[in-house]
Symmetry: C2
Subunit: 125 residues, 2 copies
């Protein structure tokens, strides 16, 4: 990846800090192994996508891939997020691509199976 390219892991956001902490933990392996990657929130929490775009652009990024930390696409991913991306990319003169929500990738279904297998391995109450 060139340093001009930046990955944004986009979570919904919540006023509940425990909710955001869960997403920060989920993002950790990605942020740790991929330079030029950040987490951002669609609403109700900081940093916003726009904040990240501004910061990364100041460091030379002009191309962004937004990976939604959503299992499925509802109204937010079909309408709100594309509209936000259009506005931000125009205002900041950068290219932004919206990737599929993570739940569209078969890796997620396999991870869910592994999680359930772990549940089954736990001793019964």
């Amino acid at each position: 990846m060139t340093s001009a390219h930046h990955i944004i892991l986009l979570a919904h956001g919540s006023s509940d800090s425990r909710w955001c902490e869960t997403f920060e933990k989920l993002a950790e392996p990605t942020l740790h192994s991929i330079d030029n990657s950040s987490i951002a929130y669609m609403e109700l929490a900081e940093p916003s996508m726009e904040t990240i775009v501004e910061q990364a652009k100041a460091q030379g990024a002009n191309q962004f891939t937004v990976v939604p930390l959503f299992l499925a696409a509802g109204r937010h991913l079909r309408k709100d997020v594309p509209a936000m991306i259009k506005t931000i990319s125009e205002e900041h003169s950068v290219t932004m691509r919206l990737a599929d929500p993570i739940g569209y990738n078969p890796q997620l279904g396999l991870a869910i199976r592994d999680v359930v297998q772990e549940e089954l391995a736990k001793p019964a109450d």
Copy 2:
């Protein structure tokens, strides 16, 4: 797992069939590899948890583990789902355990990293 134990993969539910199809696909590897497992929806889609409990009980299940297909816990998982589980387990005389949402398991963070790596491997537009 004894046949008396049944796994319920619990998704939120939506009136948008595309949304439910995504979760059905996400559930497939689990349903395929674990006998006595089903998907259920909290609201807005069928089957409900209660429908699954009734069906599975008719086939001998009396112990249920509910695994939420949610990345993080908000009001639904902290309040609504525990209340539903209490009502259903009392009405049907079964034991129901609510597991952590899948996003609490480190497997999910690793899967997200792999998904992002795949995004980066795609040719630029």
